[in-house]
């Protein structure tokens, strides 16, 4: 748990760290995407402006695709480019390149496309209310027990809504492709999370035209949060097509407005909950969840977001009878994709608000209500997986204690009587399964390569990318700390698919948990097998054995099995647990919520690097704050999105105090961390507002407009 300084800290501070747009290649030209501004329609005519030399431009459309017009991963249903029909705003129609950025921009602005418009679904509510829009596979988790409903049980029914959320990584998406006809290889430089996804995509679109695609990430990846998991596949495909056709290196950097308009977002959700609670025992006896996601026009990643979402939908509660139904809904908007949390922030938005709703119906404190219903060792998840540790309850107790929850609750109650403004405090709790869902890790079958050089330098080759989260520092640390090797002798190499084996995508809080653990175990294994206490000395005395290369493969745990058809079994081997308290101040005159403080208590097992781990919690908390309070899109009017003036992410002026504590840090396991700090804070903020103002809002974000509307509407949810 040492605070090793990040290996890239200095170059990031002296301005020398290179992001994709800082790189140029000899003869490189610039590309841009021309995308549909029509949500659903048939392309009638594309008209190029007259006063340009058309032959100076390289233009590609679906017709130029040599391989298949289908992005192969995750779910192969999305074309790279529209053929004659467009299914959503932002669907790419042409890729265009030119040596001058400025000429390119003015050319593209003047291209006219005529569409025959077809009926389109662009509104989240319209999409999610209508069951005709369902597509893809429905998931059912059936944990019903034959329990008779008692007439005095309290029925609580509510529908919860969450909006799109934009990743807003500071570095927009970009790709550089270089075609080499000599060896028929396409070299791609990418700001991405999953080099192998990009490789498969480029090979799919290029088909027989190339022998191989080699993907290397840029040195710097300027944030990703899930946003650079699947869109780079599409972008790299089209950029490569342009490079192939023009014979020149091509760079496409999206401008901010395009990045906002056409790349993936967090799925909007509509989650309907019914619970029945026994007023005598105060226990929830029955839960019914209807979990719906607006997937956008294609499925792509949505089925896996859905499966994680439903597996987390019942929260940390032990409920004897649970029925969860999860479905994807189609709309004519850009496909939604991965975003830190992956279906869990939506799940908790519902169940954690609902817990407070039931508590207030029972006239019970939300903490006491959670204590009564929280699951314990020996209980099971709706998937029938047994609960083996009671750390969620420990997190909850600890966070309540350290935030002085009870005392504050009382104080605020008294303060609120005498003031128009209100103070409030709220709780939430949650968990996040580490790694791919179910049998995913088994199927991924991750691989790592290690080279130990003659000077005992250890080179680690993984396809996991460092997009700022500090993965490469932490991964190296897990290796060198295990065998006490000097840190300057241990480096993670820049991911490049011709050198680095496929250790799976950089997603699902799996990098440290799965890949790091593989590295750590491997270090201990060679120590044992070679019988050294000091690797440097060993290498010095066995020079002829080095350099030596090792291949490491993931070994699945044989006790982990999951039935994908019925959603039964061990969904995740290890869970991270967390609980949170948030304190707010409500300005009654302006209907504004000011977030004062967030307390986090988490069990992520062993935090390898405490500073980096805290950084994940802080960053996740603030993204969750944006989700709860300010961030949303007017998706009905895509055209007007220009960037950060239309979409407010938190500023330095807005941020609250943040308190972080990790428990059970002496564990042997370094569990998932990246996502959980985004999952749980938003409901705690919402619950704090409920506590402050007595107004129950079932939808994010809690903007002044929404609060005002709720107060002035006759059918508001005051409970």
């Amino acid at each position: 748990m040492r605070d090793i300084r990040k290996f890239d800290a200095r170059p990031k501070l002296d301005g020398s760290w290179k992001f994709l747009d800082d790189i140029t290649y000899e003869g490189m030209i610039y590309g841009q995407l021309l995308y549909s501004t029509c949500h659903h329609g048939i392309i009638k005519k594309i008209q190029f402006p007259k006063d340009f030399e058309l032959n100076e431009f390289t233009i590609v459309s679906a017709k130029d695709i040599v391989g298949k017009n289908l992005v192969p991963e995750p779910e192969p249903d999305q074309p790279f480019m529209a053929e004659d029909k467009v299914s959503h705003f932002g669907q790419i129609i042409l890729g265009i390149a030119h040596p001058s950025k400025r000429t390119l921009i003015s050319f593209i602005k003047q291209i006219q496309i005529d569409y025959q418009e077809l009926p389109a679904i662009t509104d989240i509510e319209e999409c999610l209310e209508n069951e005709d829009n369902v597509f893809g596979r429905e998931i059912i988790i059936d944990h019903r027990r034959e329990i008779e409903l008692e007439s005095n049980w309290i029925h609580s029914h509510e529908i919860y809504y969450t909006p799109h959320q934009e990743h807003a990584y500071m570095e927009p998406q970009g790709i550089i492709s270089i075609w080499n006809p000599a060896d028929r290889k396409m070299f791609v430089k990418a700001t991405c999370q999953c080099p192998y996804f990009v490789k498969h995509a480029v090979e799919a679109i290029m088909g027989k035209a190339i022998n191989e695609a080699v993907i290397e990430t840029s040195e710097g990846i300027g944030g990703a949060f899930g946003g650079k998991e699947d869109f780079p596949n599409v972008l790299a495909g089209i950029t490569s097509l342009l490079a192939y056709k023009s014979g020149k290196p091509v760079k496409i950097m999206l401008d901010r407005a395009d990045d906002f308009k056409i790349t993936t977002n967090r799925h909007p959700s509509r989650i309907e909950l019914h619970t029945y609670t026994d007023p005598a025992t105060k226990k929830i006896m029955k839960l019914n969840v209807d979990y719906r996601l607006d997937a956008g026009a294609y499925q792509t990643l949505s089925p896996v977001v859905l499966s994680r979402g439903v597996l987390h939908a019942s929260g940390g509660y032990n409920i004897p009878d649970v029925y969860i139904r999860g479905r994807l809904f189609r709309s004519n908007t850009p496909s939604n994709g991965a975003f830190r949390g992956f279906g869990v922030p939506q799940a908790l938005a519902a169940i954690e608000a609902h817990a407070d709703k039931i508590a207030s119906q029972l006239n019970m404190d939300p903490y006491d209500f959670r204590k009564t219903n929280i699951f314990k060792v020996g209980n099971e998840f709706p998937s029938t997986q047994k609960i083996t540790e009671n750390h969620l309850e420990e997190c909850l107790d600890r966070v309540v204690q350290k935030s002085d929850y009870r005392k504050k609750l009382q104080e605020f109650k008294e303060w609120n009587v005498a003031h128009k403004d209100k103070k409030g405090i709220g709780i939430s709790m949650g968990y996040h399964g580490g790694g791919y869902t179910g049998n995913g890790e088994k199927i991924l079958n991750s691989k790592i390569k290690i080279i130990i050089e003659k000077d005992a330098k250890v080179k680690i080759f993984v396809s996991s990318t460092d997009m700022g989260q500090g993965a490469h520092t932490t991964l190296a640390q897990m290796f060198f700390e295990a065998i006490k090797h000097p840190r300057e002798k241990c480096w993670v190499q820049l991911p490049n698919t011709s050198k680095t084996p496929d250790s799976g995508p950089t997603v699902a809080s799996r990098t440290i948990y799965i890949i790091g653990t593989m590295l750590q175990k491997f270090a201990l294994k060679i120590k044992d097998e070679m019988g050294f206490t000091n690797l440097e000395e060993y290498v010095a005395s066995h020079q002829s054995d080095f350099p030596r290369e090792f291949q490491i493969k993931f070994t699945p745990d044989p006790t982990v099995s999951f039935d994908d058809n019925n959603f039964r079994g061990t969904a995740y081997k290890d869970y991270s647990w967390a609980a949170c308290v948030s304190e707010i101040y409500y300005h009654a005159d302006t209907y504004q919520i000011e977030l004062k403080k967030i307390w986090n208590v988490l069990d992520i097992g062993h935090p390898v690097n405490l500073k980096i781990a805290e950084g994940q919690v802080e960053g996740g908390n603030i993204q969750a704050m944006g989700y709860a309070l300010t961030e949303f899109f007017y998706k009905k009017d895509f055209g007007r999105m220009q960037g950060f003036t239309d979409y407010s992410i938190p500023l330095s002026l807005d941020i609250p105090e943040i308190d972080i504590e990790f428990i059970h840090t002496d564990s042997d396991v370094a569990k998932g961390l990246g996502e959980i700090p985004m999952d749980y804070p938003a409901p705690a903020i919402r619950n704090a507002f409920h506590n402050a103002a007595g107004i129950f809002i079932n939808e994010y974000p809690l903007t002044p407009e929404r609060i005002f509307k709720q107060i002035s509407s006759p059918k508001n949810h005051r409970i």
């Binding site: 605070d3 300084r5 990040k6 890239d8 800290a9 200095r10 990031k12 501070l13 002296d14 301005g15 020398s16 760290w17 290179k18 992001f19 747009d21 800082d22 400025r102 990743h167 807003a168 990584y169 500071m170 570095e171 927009p172 710097g220 990846i221 300027g222 944030g223 949060f225 950097m253 401008d255 901010r256 997009m467 700022g468 989260q469 500090g470 500073k611 980096i612 950084g615 802080e618 960053g619 996740g620 908390n621 603030i622 993204q623 220009q642 960037g643 950060f644 003036t645 992410i649 938190p650 500023l651 330095s652 002026l653 941020i655 943040i658």
Partner: protein, 155 residues
């Protein structure tokens, strides 16, 4: 096209610019200065901040032609003779994650500390309020600026 001369990081540079080109584009594409980043190209994010005659400005909103005869300093310039105390503190505190916002934030922090060597936390927050950062939640950055003040003047 017009030839302009500017004092860039202590060196006189002359460059041919189109009257509609921004300072950001000219720095990055014609003068090889890559530390100012393009996060939005419309004045929202602060990633492109540079010091123009000592004042922090968004280089995506300034036309290069306006800077004829002026002094421009970027992070490359600030770092020429070793890093400043605030940069060093940011390194020690792991203040950044992806670091895309870092050059702009260093410019804002440098301007603040040049004018106000002992700012309060509120003043630091205010000075950095025009710089977006999506990774860190700002806290380690604010702490680093604050910590760099301890033990004397920031140079």
């Amino acid at each position: 096209m017009k030839q302009i001369k500017l004092n860039l990081n202590g060196e006189i540079r002359s460059v041919l610019v189109d009257p509609t080109e921004t300072l950001l584009d000219v720095l990055r594409d014609k003068l090889g200065i890559k530390s100012p980043k393009c996060g939005c190209d419309r004045g929202d994010c602060g990633a492109c901040n540079v010091l123009l005659n000592g004042r922090s400005v968004r280089s995506c909103l300034i036309l290069a032609i306006e800077t004829d005869g002026q002094e421009v300093v970027t992070v490359e310039g600030i770092s020429q003779k070793g890093l400043s105390r605030v940069q060093e503190t940011m390194i020690n505190k792991n203040a950044f994650q992806c670091g895309f916002c870092a050059p702009g934030i260093i410019i804002s922090a440098t301007e603040l500390l040049n004018n106000n060597p002992h700012p309060t936390l509120e003043e630091i927050k205010e000075a950095l309020s025009g710089n977006l950062c999506r990774c860190t939640g700002y806290l380690p950055i604010l702490e680093a600026v604050r910590e760099s003040l301890e033990g004397g003047k920031n140079e």
